[in-house]
Each structure stands twice: as structure tokens, then as C-alpha cells.
């Protein structure tokens, strides 16, 4: 019996506004406990919610990127339940009228793509943080009320790889749109998986299992793959899959039962009476969309079509918004795009990986780097010399040309001077010349190498090569 996996993802994204969703308290990360709250965040009586304009702008950006229909009137609902991290005893969310509806995202599926329908994107607020100890729990309300969007897909996903790609693309969108830091390991991007199996070709859904606590995109695929395997085994053994919530155990790389899903909780939804409906003008929506920074997909197209990068280079760059920003800054500063891409994806990436840093912590800012690239591009220094200067620039805040001066690393590009050297080398290496003229290509490289050696490595290799060729062709 062949089963197909029916997978839907619920993703929560923390938005990087300056103030909270319904409260003007500051949004902070890692601040001292309860140091960034106001009475509203602790649900003091008499406090009232007000909608954060920028959160709506951000949500509109995401709706647009995910091809969702954007509701021009915002209504909010109360989701009522009791929990220690929920100060009001309800969460303000959008149950009946999400800001975005009926969109899609295309994800990699095998060699092709699959379109995953997106049911909704809605605005809501985050809960307080809890720190659990042996006999008690401590509550920190800094996070309570931070703006969230929830993105709910239809159960169109079929494999762990598709699921991971879906999450990665969402991560890319929210980071490039500058809406969120999109870090699963920090909790600014959270993913819950709903997964069931059914016989291939069947219409009816199987029993759904919810998987939570997935803290990386890799683990999304692992969790899904494990669940598919587990549920397959259960079904093949003749048993029924139990409807439950499981958590992904990062060390075991398995899903573990967390709690049985009893009757779905009754949230007693009703329209939030303290927030009158908010009308979004066409201009507001248009400006929100227009104000969205270039997303990865558009950058990719632009890098390939307009700038002429290779697919490989473009793909490497768009893995991170910050890398693209760095690249765009280099290009804006006049750097040769191909050279810039090479360095970013090569030496710079190598350095960052080795030092466990991100491009944001990279000690050479784009304008200093552009200076270095300029020198290489004009032949003032060789690529190798560039590397030496690069090493120094990592620890010293000096401009590239100044560093080149200091190190005495100027590429010799003076044609006359080089011609002289070439002539000298040729004169001193008659055997190699003879070998070359007899067809031994390697002798050519040897002669060029000698030119480089004689100039202490400073000769412009391209020019040296050209001049050697010229000189030898006269023979």
C-alpha cells in the first residue's frame, strides 16, 4: 500500500517593528526581564489596544509577496483561553477576516516546482515568555504583544524537502522584505507542521498529527521525513495513527509525543469591541507594497539579466539579504559585479565561515572593499596582492590603497618597465624559449613565472603574459 503525505505548515513570523502590535511599548530582544513593558502589556484594567501602522505595512508586503488578496478593511477577534503567558486571558487575532487570503508559493519539488496554496495570513500578538524551573515558572512580559503574522498553507506539501523549501522561501521573503530577522533558532520564525498520510489516490484525509518545536530549516525536513516514516509504519502494522501533538527532539532527530489532542479547544471567538474596523486606502496599500525592498527572486533576476552574473553566483548571493545588500553596495560604489561576486562568494565567505561571523559583522565595510576591488580591476594590483591586502584590512581600518602603499604591493603595470624585464628573462632562459618554439606550452608558463619572480610577484600577470607572448612571437 502506497501512502502519500499530506502536509500543511503554520508559520509564525515576529515582525521587527519598533513598538508592539497593539501596544506602544518598545519591541526588544534580550532586554532585562520586564524592562520593556507598560501596564497594557500586563493587561492592567482600563488599558486598550491600538493597531500599529507599521505592522500593517509589513503584513501587506508579505501578502503581496505571497500573492494573497489583501482585505481593505481590518477586523480583529478575541481568541479566549487561560494560560500563564497570556496576560489578558485572550489574544487579539484575526479569525474571521485575515488581512490576506488565497495566495500561493511555488516550491522546489523534485526536478520541478509545486504550487503550494496559502489559505491565510493574519495579524496577531505574541505571548509572554516563560522560564521553567523545577518547582516554579517565571514570567517575563517583554515579548507579550510583539507583532506576529501567522501564515497558514493548504495541505499541498508532500515531502520533507518541499516543506523545508517552503520554509526557506518564507524566510527569504520575510528577511528581504525587512519585516523580520527570520531566525528559527531565535524564535522570530516558528514553524508547526500538520501531517497525515492517506493511500495514494484517496480523497479523504488521514488522521492529522501536529509537530511543534522545530528549530531549524533542516529539522523541518527531518521532522517531516521522520513522521512520514513513523506514520507509515503505524498504518502498515494495521494500527491507527493517534491524533496528537508531537515535538521534534533535536538530539534524537525524532518526533516525540507531547500531548494527546482532545476535543479542539473552544476559543469563544468574537469581534474585538475595542478596535473599530480599520479602512486601508488604495494609496496606503500601494505605498506599502512599493516601499517593500527588493525580494530575493527579483534580485536573482536582476543579477542574471541585468548584471550578468552566473546562476551559481546569483544563488549564492541571494541566500542572505545582508549579503545582497553588501553586494549591491559594492556595485553601487562602482565595483565590477563579477569581481565583487567572486570575492563575496569566495574569500569573504571563507573568512566569515572560518570566523563564525555573518556579513553584518564583517570588519571591512563596502566602501573600503570597493576600494580594494577597484585596484584589482584596474590592474594596479594583482588578485594575489589583493588577498594580502585583504588580510591586513580585516584587522586594520585602513583604506586599500593606503595599505597597498604600506606593504609596497603595487603591481607593475608599466609596460616599458615590464618589457625590459621580459627581455631580460627571455635572454636568461634561452632553453625555455627554444622549448616553447618547439611547441612545449608549459615553457611559456615557466617564462611568465620567471617574470613574476623577477618582479617579486608584482608584475601584472595578465600584462606579463601578453608581453612574453609578444616577445616570443617575434622569434
Amino acid at each position: 500500500m502506497n501512502f502519500e503525505a499530506v502536509i500543511g505548515l503554520e508559520i509564525h513570523v515576529e515582525m521587527k517593528t519598533k513598538s508592539k502590535m497593539f501596544s506602544p511599548a518598545p519591541v526588544t530582544y534580550g532586554a532585562a526581564p520586564n524592562s520593556a513593558t507598560t501596564p497594557l502589556d500586563l493587561a492592567h484594567p482600563g488599558t486598550m489596544p491600538t493597531l500599529n501602522r507599521q505592522a500593517v505595512v509589513y503584513a501587506i508586503r508579505l501578502c503581496h509577496a505571497l500573492h494573497l488578496d489583501i482585505d481593505r478593511e481590518l477586523w480583529f477577534d478575541r481568541k479566549n483561553y487561560f494560560y500563564s503567558d497570556l496576560p489578558k486571558g485572550y489574544q487579539i487575532t484575526q479569525n474571521d477576516r485575515p488581512i490576506g487570503k488565497n495566495g500561493y508559493l511555488d516550491v522546489k519539488s523534485g526536478p520541478g516546482m509545486r504550487r503550494i496554496a496559502i489559505n491565510r495570513l493574519h495579524l496577531e500578538e505574541d505571548t509572554a515568555m516563560q522560564h521553567h524551573y523545577r518547582d516554579y515558572t517565571l514570567l517575563d512580559y517583554n515579548r507579550a504583544g510583539i507583532p506576529l503574522v501567522e501564515i497558514v498553507s493548504e495541505p499541498d506539501i508532500r515531502t520533507g524537502a518541499e516543506a523545508a523549501d517552503y520554509v526557506e522561501r518564507i524566510r527569504s521573503i520575510v528577511t528581504f522584505a525587512d519585516v523580520s530577522t527570520g531566525k528559527m533558532e531565535e524564535g522570530s520564525l516558528r514553524c508547526d507542521v500538520n501531517i497525515s498520510l492517506r493511500p495514494v489516490g484517496a480523497d479523504k484525509f488521514g488522521t492529522k498529527v501536529e509537530v511543534k518545536n522545530i528549530n531549524s530549516i533542516n529539522n523541518v525536513a527531518k521532522a517531516v521525513d521522520f513522521e512520514i516514516k513513523r506514520q507509515t509504519q503505524v498504518l502498515l502494522s494495521g494500527a491507527a495513527v493517534i491524533q496528537e501533538t508531537r515535538r521534534f527532539d533535536d538530539s534524537l532527530k525524532e518526533t516525540v509525543s507531547m500531548r494527546l489532542k482532545t476535543d479542539a479547544v473552544d476559543y469563544k471567538y468574537f469581534t474585538e469591541p475595542n478596535l473599530v474596523p480599520i479602512r486601508l486606502s488604495e494609496q496606503f496599500v500601494a505605498e506599502a507594497i512599493a516601499g517593500c525592498p527588493e525580494l530575493a527572486e527579483a534580485k536573482y533576476d536582476r543579477y542574471i539579466r541585468q548584471i550578468g552574473l552566473s546562476e551559481y553566483d546569483a544563488n549564492m548571493l541571494i541566500a542572505s539579504r545582508e549579503t545582497c545588500q553588501y553586494f549591491d553596495a559594492l556595485v553601487a560604489d562602482g565595483s565590477n559585479p563579477k569581481l565583487a561576486a567572486n570575492w563575496l562568494n569566495g574569500d569573504i565567505a571563507g573568512y566569515l565561515n572560518k570566523s563564525n561571523l555573518t556579513i553584518d559583522d564583517f570588519p571591512i565595510d563596502p566602501s573600503r572593499m570597493a576600494g580594494l576591488l577597484k585596484m584589482i580591476e584596474t590592474g594596479t594590483i594583482s588578485n594575489k596582492q589583493g588577498r594580502d591586502i585583504f588580510e591586513k584590512m580585516l584587522t586594520e581600518d585602513t583604506a586599500a590603497d593606503v595599505m597597498a602603499e604600506r606593504l609596497g604591493l603595487r603591481q607593475i603595470s608599466d609596460i616599458d618597465a615590464l618589457r625590459t624585464v621580459v627581455a631580460e628573462v627571455i635572454a636568461a632562459n634561452q632553453q625555455s624559449v627554444a622549448d616553447y618554439l618547439q611547441g612545449k606550452e608549459r615553457a611559456f608558463g615557466y617564462i611568465v613565472g620567471q617574470v613574476m619572480k623577477k618582479t617579486g610577484g608584482k608584475a601584472n600577470p595578465g600584462l606579463a603574459s601578453q608581453l612574453v607572448k609578444e616577445a616570443l612571437s617575434h622569434r
Binding site: 493587561a43 484594567p45 482600563g46 491600538t50 479566549n80 487561560f82 473552544d266 468574537f270 475595542n274
Partner: protein
């Protein structure tokens, strides 16, 4: 001369003329507060009030509220002063911020001298369910009569001339009903006119801030001072506030008044009824056009159940924050749920618990459509019916209550079969968010009764005008209970 016995306008004149000072007024108000026999106070603010009063040296002729003492219902957040909403679940709670209206009055140099008892969490209409027990009607020194609620203490303080005005809140009639029983002007403008930020929410879609005073122009003046859009209250109206209403002439010529026949014809004490008709006649003679209109019986009969359903449902949700964790008496337990359960079980009175369970029940998935959603549908039909009336009429005028203040032995907070339309129609003003004012029109055996004027949303001027006309007809201005003698 006890200037404190006068209206705000009169006190203001005396202050400007130097005949009295804020210190004198505050001292007298505090003295009367301490001598209060009606169990009206949750808290008397004396030292700070005197300090403020003493700091006010130069009278401000253009500031009507300068140096005027007042009280606020204890469901308004007051920074630094315990605020309990007369519920044990909030014992010891000291707010960190002032409600917007409190801040506005502070800015205008009015002087807060007390927080007043209410029906617990504002969910009641008898003034008997607050955690300090019953508040009495100053018009009955034998303490046999209620003052109504939920703004019981606020009404009692104004009726007893402890202060010339008080802040209250009105969700179903909680300012306008006690006003009637206490011979006061009880005024609630349109929904959204006055910021509710800092008013402990009972049922936000019905809640209004209201004012109790002893004259129409006083009430209008206070509302003018505290109304206005507030960025902290997303439901506060952007519509500009009318100015100069206290100075209106009470000109009702051409005003089209609707009297809802079904309400007036429901059982009222004959004295109330005849006085009411007398006033209508007086208005007609002053140029108004008074007409009986009809409102569907099925709608009127449903007013009370619709109100109970919607208000209890919203209240259950609003008061889910009362869990003893962030504020209020806290308890420990084996689990957080137990801790919350203990706090809530201990903190709420029987009545409130029953109301919450009713609210919760109405919202439960299996009941929601039949109970809660249906009630919201009924609300729409009622509001539509009112709007129909307002297509051809400017005001609706009805008696505020069918009788004078009931005796305690006769009333009860248990839901009963009797859903007297006459007792519950004031909530029409909450369903539709309409400006509504109760004005005293007479006395029966020394106990006051009033009528209610209700206009279209945001047409406060029309309401104030008509109320001024009624006040002129009755001459009942500045009615105070002094030793049971209404003056």
C-alpha cells in the same frame, strides 16, 4: 454659605469673585465625605486633594473647573490610588496610570476627593453588590431605598452635595438610572465621544463614560471638558466636539419629539406618568412637536435578554485578566491553573460568577449561534428600528424609570421573570451609542424621578437643548438630598 451646595457654574462665579477658595471647598467636601452615611466611598483622598487645593492661588475665570471638587467611580484608573471596581479580585491594586478623563480633569485643576463604590465590576443596577456592601439613596435617610447602579456611590455623593459632579460609567443605564432615582442629571454622550482609556472595561461595545451633576449645563460643561479623540482609545470618535452647549437657550421650537408608546404605556406609577405628560405638554407649548411613535413589541421584549447576553459575554472576556497573577490578591497552587482558579473563585462575588458563567455559556461553540450571535443580530434590528424613528424625529423622550427608587426588599439582582420594558429601555442608548440624558422632573413622597432624552449619534446639542427646556419647565435645578429633604 455653603458654596459646595451650589452648581458648578455658581461655584465658579464665587471662586472668581473671591468669595470662596479651592481650599475651603475641598476641606468642606472632604468633611462631608468623612461624614457620609450612605456608604458611598471606596476611598477618600484627603491629603493630596488639600495639597492641590492649597496650591491653586489665582482663579482662572475662563476655566469652569478650576478648584472644583469631584469624585470618580472606582472603575476609573487613578495613578497611585487603589482602584478596586468594588471587587475583592482587585483589592490592593494600585494603578500606574491615570485614565484619560482623570488626567484631563487634573489638567483643568478640578480636584479629585474620592473614589466611589459601584456594583461590582459595574455589573449591576442596584448599588448593592459592591464588596463594601450597599450604597444608600441620600433621599431616604431611613436607608430603605436603593440609589440604583452601577454608579451608586457617584450618584450618592452628588445627591448629598458632597461634590457638584461625579464621573460614572454607563453600559446599560448605570449613570442615567441612578440619576433618576437620585434627582440628578445623568448624561452619557455618544459612544466614542469620551475616551474610555483607563475605564475598567465591562462591555466595550456598550460602555460609555458618563457624568452626574445637579444641572444640565453643569453636566454639559463637564462632558465638553473631557470629550475628544484620544489616541489611546481606538474607538474614540474623530468627529469634532460641539462647543458651547452649556450656554444653549433650551430652544425647542420645531424640535420633533418621539414618545415610544409601548414604553410609556407599560406600567408606570400614575404620578410619574402624569408628570411626564405634563412636561410633554410644556414642551409642546414651547414649540416642540411631540408625537407618539410605535416600536415593535418583539424588539422591546428582547431588550433585556440581548443586553444580558452581549454584556455578560464581553465581560467574561474582559475580566479574564483578573487572575491574581499580575495584580490583585494572589494565590499559590499545585499548578498555575489552580492558582488562577483560587484567585478568581475567591475574588468574585456570587453574582459576578453567575454573570461570567452566563457570558461564557453564550459564547460556547455549541451555543454561540443561538445565543450570542442571535443577540448581536437582535441588536442590529433594534438599532435599525431606532434609526427609523430618527428619520422623522430628532429626539426620543421617555420616563427614566417606572417608579421612584425601589425599596431594597422589593428589588433583587437575581434574574427574574419580570422583564419590565419600563425598567430596561435606557439600554437602547447603549445599543445604538446615542447621546442620552436623564433629567429630574418631580418628586413623589420626597423621592425624585426623572425623564430621559435621547438623540441621534453625535447630536449632543439637540439633547442638551431639550434637557435645558425640561429643566426650565420643572425648575428642578440643583436638587440636593439634605437630611432626606430634597432642596
Amino acid at each position: 454659605m455653603a458654596y459646595l451646595d451650589l452648581t458648578i457654574h455658581e461655584i465658579h462665579e464665587a471662586l472668581v469673585a473671591g468669595k470662596t477658595t479651592p481650599r475651603e471647598l475641598a476641606a468642606e467636601a472632604i468633611k462631608r465625605a468623612c461624614e457620609d452615611q450612605n456608604n458611598a466611598f471606596e476611598l477618600i483622598i484627603d491629603q493630596d486633594a488639600m495639597a492641590i487645593a492649597e496650591s491653586l492661588a489665582e482663579p482662572e475665570p475662563d476655566n469652569l473647573l478650576w478648584g472644583i471638587p469631584y469624585v470618580a467611580k472606582d472603575n476609573f484608573s487613578t495613578k497611585g490610588y487603589p482602584t478596586t471596581a468594588s471587587s475583592n479580585s482587585l483589592n490592593g491594586y494600585v494603578p500606574l496610570f491615570d485614565a484619560t478623563v482623570i488626567a484631563k480633569l487634573k489638567q483643568r485643576k478640578a480636584i479629585l476627593i474620592g473614589k466611589m463604590a459601584l456594583d461590582e465590576l459595574a455589573m449591576g443596577g442596584t448599588g448593592t453588590t459592591g464588596h463594601r456592601g450597599t450604597t444608600y439613596n441620600p433621599h431616604d435617610p431611613r436607608h430603605e431605598r436603593m440609589i440604583g447602579g452601577s454608579s451608586a456611590g457617584s450618584a450618592a455623593a452628588v445627591a448629598a452635595a458632597i461634590v457638584p459632579f461625579a464621573l460614572g460609567s454607563d453600559t446599560g443605564d448605570s449613570v442615567r438610572k441612578p440619576a433618576g432615582y437620585a434627582g440628578l442629571v445623568g448624561y452619557k454622550p455618544s459612544w466614542g465621544r469620551i475616551s474610555r482609556y483607563g475605564l475598567f472595561a465591562f462591555a466595550p461595545s456598550l460602555d460609555h463614560v458618563g457624568v452626574l451633576a445637579r444641572s444640565v449645563s453643569d453636566a454639559a460643561a463637564i462632558v465638553e471638558a473631557i470629550a475628544g479623540h484620544d489616541d489611546l482609545d481606538a474607538t474614540s470618535a474623530m468627529i469634532a466636539n460641539p462647543k458651547g452647549l452649556p450656554q444653549l437657550e433650551g430652544d425647542v421650537r420645531g424640535l420633533r419629539v418621539a414618545v415610544i408608546g409601548e414604553i410609556v404605556n407599560s406600567p408606570h406609577h400614575p404620578i410619574i406618568k402624569s408628570k411626564f405628560e405634563e412636561i410633554l405638554k410644556g414642551l409642546t407649548e414651547a414649540g416642540a412637536v411631540v408625537e407618539r411613535v410605535h416600536m415593535r413589541r418583539d424588539l422591546l421584549d428582547a431588550i433585556y435578554p440581548i443586553y444580558i447576553t452581549i454584556s455578560c459575554a464581553e465581560a467574561t472576556s474582559n475580566d479574564a485578566n483578573l487572575d491574581g497573577i499580575k495584580f490583585g490578591p494572589s494565590f499559590w497552587g499545585d499548578t498555575y491553573e489552580q492558582a488562577m482558579l483560587k484567585a478568581r473563585t475567591n475574588g468574585f462575588s456570587e453574582l459576578i460568577k453567575r454573570r461570567f458563567i452566563i457570558g461564557s455559556f453564550a459564547l460556547m461553540r455549541e451555543n454561540r449561534d443561538m445565543l450570542f450571535v442571535r443577540a448581536q443580530k437582535g441588536r442590529r434590528l433594534i438599532v435599525e428600528a431606532l434609526n427609523e424613528i430618527y428619520k422623522t424625529h430628532d429626539l426620543i423622550i421617555v420616563p427614566a424609570a417606572p417608579n421612584v427608587a425601589p425599596r431594597f426588599v422589593d428589588g433583587s439582582d437575581k434574574l427574574s421573570e419580570e422583564y419590565l420594558i419600563a425598567d430596561n429601555h435606557l439600554v437602547l442608548g447603549n445599543f445604538a451609542g446615542l447621546p442620552s440624558m436623564t433629567v429630574p422632573i418631580g418628586l413623589k413622597d420626597g423621592l425624585p424621578f426623572g425623564l430621559n432624552v435621547m438623540g441621534r449619534a453625535f447630536e449632543e446639542a439637540t439633547v442638551v437643548n431639550a434637557a435645558l427646556a425640561v429643566e426650565r419647565l420643572t425648575g428642578l435645578k440643583n436638587l440636593r438630598a439634605e437630611g432626606g429633604v430634597a432642596r
